[in-house]
């Protein structure tokens, strides 16, 4: 319990230190020390404002998921470039409601952000009970297929990372 009191968010501290090192662009011991002090002090002072972070069960899976998303962003960029330069009257835009299995705040934020970052889809709203996500798509032939794709490609890995079992 004592360790939790003095280092409330170890992961956040590590991230802040990393960001500090990148900002300074200078890998010397002095900056490492300053970054470590900032990384320890800032979460300590602001801890009342933070939500309780979810447990990450499979960090390696998260890492792999990151690269899958990067790849998807590149592919989707090319597809949307073709759509934008083609005739606009042939586009089939749609609002699609996607039922959500994720419950954690951070995981939902990550999913909504990924959907928005992938060109062609923008997350427009989350229902008040956090069970449905409204997504606007630029060109989609089959709503069901899009829902299935988002659920299997993005939601399933996040479920695996943030909750212990998917059942």
């Amino acid at each position: 319990m004592k360790a939790r009191r003095f280092l409330p968010h170890p992961l956040l501290s590590l991230c802040l230190m990393g960001v500090w090192m990148l900002l300074m662009n200078d890998m010397t011991f002095g900056h490492l020390l300053l970054g470590a002090i900032l990384g320890w002090l800032i979460p300590l002072v602001t801890q009342v404002f933070w939500i309780t972070p979810p447990r990450i069960y499979r960090p390696f899976r998260l890492f792999r998921f990151f690269f899958l998303v990067l790849g998807d962003i590149v592919v989707a960029n090319l597809q949307v470039a073709k759509l934008i330069l083609g005739p606009t009257s042939k586009l089939r835009p749609a609002f699609v409601e996607i039922p959500m299995l994720l419950e954690d705040e951070l995981a939902l934020t990550m999913l909504a952000s990924i959907i928005s970052l992938t060109p062609g889809t923008v997350s427009a709203d989350l229902s008040d009970d956090r069970k449905t996500l409204l997504v606007h798509t630029l060109d989609v032939a089959d709503d069901e297929q899009l829902i299935a794709e988002i659920k299997s490609r993005y939601e399933a890995p996040l479920l695996e990372v943030f909750t212990c079992s998917t059942t």
Partner: protein, 110 residues
Amino acid sequence: MSTWMEILVAIFLLLGSVFSLVGAIGLYRLPDFFMRLHGPTKATTLGVGGMVIASMIYFAGQEQGISLHELLITLFLFITAPVSAHMLAKAAMQQKLSISEQTRGKPWEQ
């Protein structure tokens, strides 16, 4: 800096610029507000991504060691861009902006 590195920098710069341009064209051409939102998401991902990679290669070639703080640009963009797109879409639904007739499905009542 060797010639092939300069070529690499030029390629990534051009790639980033082309995608930013396509994003801007999308913002201009697409018929309604929600579809126009899709244009800028391209510019923030591959557009800036290409330029950031070009910058990293360029400064690595300037004999100052590896330059990594461009990665922060990507990090901050990935955090902020989806949030602003989401807020814009929410605001548009509240204002009940007109949507093109081809659109299937309905925006939610706020």
